[in-house]
Amino acid sequence: MTNEQLLPPGAAAPNFTLNATPDQSLSLSDLKGRPVVLAFYPADWSPVCGDQMALYNEALPEFQAYGAEIVGISVDGVWCHVAFAKDRKLEFPLLADFEPKGAVAKLYGAYREGDGFCERALFVIDKNGVIAWSYLSPLAVNPGADGILQALEQLPK
């Protein structure tokens, strides 16, 4: 498992449309014109205070300072996401890569075939829809926000 399986910097970020809530969908193309952070992660409800999504929630002002949107993606269904987002008071969308399972994660090289859930993988996409940075984290390690912040900092203004 290495960084090489992920779509690399320079590749166009594949467009997709996924449900963010039971009756609303979000397409990557909706966000064109600003940097986008995609955070693929294995599953909602890991039993830790400072889990990855909660951390990004705390860091939201820092991402917004770059004009960037952040979006979380896992194979959990929309109702699971709704409950998780409510519990963690998340203020950014969680997308359900639910049907077909992991299809979007596969486009990005971020799907764990045998396990049936997403890798813990981060992408920073520039405002033109090109991947500027990608990073594969070991499943057991929360990669934090420093790589994302550095990548956002290095985007052309």
């Binding site: 400072g50 705390e58 963690r88």
Partner: protein, 171 residues
């Protein structure tokens, strides 16, 4: 900082006063400090998860207020020993116990006098790779294992060996 700044290993914890895992880590860190004595210095930096923990910011500001009057560590300890009680009445009582002015504390909290300092800790933490609370760094390297006594000791031991090697090898 607790301990000698020239100690071979500096342990930094990024913590949130309302986080139960940090509450657990609190007594473990004390045991680790006893174990390593003067080989270890300890620094606590603020990383409040304010959206999850409603009192995290106020507790942190209370500790920084106490710190401005030379009582940081006593307040830090009082907060962790009374996590269930965190709230305006407790901060007042704790300030009084440390001989600090309750009025001054309330004014500092009202004005968020220490908010910028805490935000600066938080930003520094984010940029250093803090990924949750508690987050530990030994000589600047993030500890990715569990924060029980043995794994912390093992990581600090490894850092002691590495720094001893660096010294004898003339780096």
């Amino acid at each position: 900082m607790q301990g000698d700044p020239r100690a071979p290993v500096i342990l930094v914890e990024y913590g949130d006063y309302q986080c139960p895992y940090c509450g657990e880590a609190y007594s473990i860190v004390k045991d680790v400090q006893k174990y390593f004595a003067d080989k270890l210095a300890f620094v606590f930096r603020n990383f409040p998860l304010t959206r999850m923990h409603p009192e995290a910011e106020n507790a942190a500001e209370t500790a920084e207020f106490a710190g401005a009057h030379g009582h940081f560590w006593e307040m830090h300890d009082l907060l962790y020993e009374n996590q269930d009680a965190l709230g305006p009445e407790f901060y007042l009582a704790a300030a009084k116990e440390l001989g600090l002015s309750g009025e001054e504390l309330n004014e500092a909290l009202r004005q968020h006098a220490f908010k910028a300092r805490i935000r600066s800790d938080f930003m520094g933490g984010l940029k250093s790779g803090v990924n949750g609370t508690p987050s530990f760094f030994m000589n600047g390297k993030r500890h990715d294992g569990p924060f029980d006594f043995e794994p912390l000791v093992a990581a600090i031991d490894a850092e002691l060996r590495a720094s001893a090697y660096a010294r004898t090898a003339g780096h």
